[in-house]
């Protein structure tokens, strides 16, 4: 257990402290949220209609942005080779890496999400659900995104490839989270989408590490 704890501390410190940490993801998020009204038009009623969904899809894009450093650095400097030699199974190592990714980018993004949603014109009463969806969705984005990041190890133009692999996998969580937010905004029961988002996140956490570990072993072989 202490090994896993040490690893989590290392990964979180790297993800949080190096290369701008959560600043970059939140900055990107703020940038996308700023561009949206500039493209769509600033009329409050038009913006308010798309605000929760726009904040949500910007979040998915921001989660995508920081995926490329999840495995690539460790792969290039040989740390991933050393990690595979440890007694901890590679599946657990991959899961810890994704968890650290979630702590370093998912949490700050979840805190920034309601601000962006309100700035775009969403009702402040949505904030609680926006944060909850962002937390759960961030977990799904981190673990599904990790699969793409691990598969594109050693590829030319890895970052772009990760995006192409991962975006179709983001379809269900984007739909479920967006559905929950749209239902609450319309005053309808929202729990179905939220529960489905949770189920998808749980499945991603459970099954994602298997695919990631297989992909890492393949890249290192």
């Amino acid at each position: 257990m202490s090994r896993v704890g040490t690893l989590l501390a290392r990964e979180t410190a790297l993800a949080w402290g190096k290369g701008g940490g959560p600043m970059v993801a939140v900055g990107f998020y703020a940038g996308v949220a700023t561009l949206l009204p500039l493209a769509v038009g600033s009329e409050p009623e038009r913006l308010a209609a798309i605000a929760p969904g726009a904040a949500w899809v910007a979040l998915a894009l921001a989660a995508l942005l920081s995926l490329d450093r999840l495995f690539e650095r460790d792969y290039e400097d040989g740390a991933l080779d050393l990690l595979t030699l440890s007694p901890v199974p590679l599946e657990i190592i991959c899961a810890v890496k994704c968890l650290a990714q979630w702590l370093a980018t998912g949490l700050p993004l979840a805190l920034a999400a309601p601000i962006a949603a309100i700035a775009l014109g969403a009702s402040p009463m949505l904030s609680g659900l926006v944060v909850a969806c962002a937390l759960l969705g961030g977990l799904a984005f981190a673990f599904m995104g990790g699969i793409g990041a691990a598969l594109s190890l050693g590829a030319r133009r890895g970052g772009l490839l990760t995006a192409v692999i991962v975006l179709p996998l983001f379809v269900p969580p984007v739909i479920f989270g967006g559905g929950a937010l749209a239902s609450l905004a319309a005053g309808l029961p929202w729990s179905a989408g939220f529960v489905l988002l949770g189920a998808y996140a749980a499945a991603a956490v459970a099954l994602g590490p298997l695919a990631m570990a297989a992909a890492c072993r393949n890249a290192l072989s």
């Binding site: 030319r156 192409v164 379809v171 559905g179 489905l196 890249a219």
Partner: protein, 242 residues
């Protein structure tokens, strides 16, 4: 293991089988397509859709094939991942562009059909959306395959992705259906002939069989080409070493 892949897993036997099976399937596809198109174009006009109903004979089998080919791709990827069989990997690699082509054909003909029927080139209907996502899965598979230089690594990475996609496709389908029921609207435009009249059903079945044969023929041809390419590469490497 399934009997058919087991029989064909021997490369020599596969090459001997595909040598005559590929052209035979091709000829079968041409005959079936001619019969299907003839029946399709001589069928009476639909009372609602008029002549445009004939797009169905091109469109619907393509949509079926887009899913069938992904199932083939997933099965081949599974066999190549578990048994590390080179021929299964060649089969997966050969199936991907064919599947993408069928999916693109389904999307394009669907769009051409949608314009006169719904008055729009594209409607975010549940089925169209999930076929579009399926197309994205094919693109991701081919992009990953192309981006890795080492062929054995590319093969295994692509096989992992194909299996991840195979698990995800039912979820995507479910989520898109759920999303569509949330947003309502498209259900009115759906073409569900609960009972398709026989005059339309027979050409449809013939065209589906023609597509299937064409896929079989092209798939075998592409696998043969891949086997030859790998042999040539191995020979070139041996010659370079000597």
């Amino acid at each position: 293991m399934i009997p058919v892949p087991a029989f064909l897993s021997n490369p020599e036997r596969f090459m001997a089988f595909s040598r005559w099976a590929a052209p035979m399937f091709g000829a079968l596809a041409v005959i079936l397509a001619l019969a299907g198109l003839y029946l399709g174009f001589t069928a009476p006009e639909d009372y609602q859709q008029g002549d445009t109903v004939r797009i169905m004979f091109i469109h619907v089998p393509a949509a079926w094939m887009s899913m069938f080919v992904y199932a083939c791709l997933g099965t081949a990827s599974f066999l190549s991942l578990v048994f590390r069989h080179a021929l299964a990997d060649a089969a997966a690699q050969a199936a991907a562009p064919l599947g993408a082509a069928f999916t693109a054909l389904a999307l394009i003909t669907g769009s051409l059909w949608g314009r006169p029927m719904w008055g729009a080139w594209w409607v975010w209907d549940a089925r169209m959306t999930s076929v579009l996502v399926l197309f994205l899965f094919y693109i991701a598979y081919m992009a990953l395959r192309a981006a890795l230089d080492d062929e054995t690594k590319a093969a295994r990475a692509a096989a992992i992705l194909a299996l991840v996609g195979l698990l995800n496709l039912p979820i995507v389908k479910f989520s898109v259906d759920w999303w569509n029921s949330l947003h309502q609207g498209a259900s009115v435009f759906r073409f569900d002939g609960p009972t398709v009249a026989d005059v339309f059903l027979y050409p449809l079945i013939l065209m589906a069989l023609a597509y299937m044969s064409a896929f079989g023929s092209l798939w075998l041809l592409r696998i043969r080409g891949e086997v030859w390419r790998r042999r040539a590469e191995a020979l070139a490497q041996r010659a370079a070493r000597a």
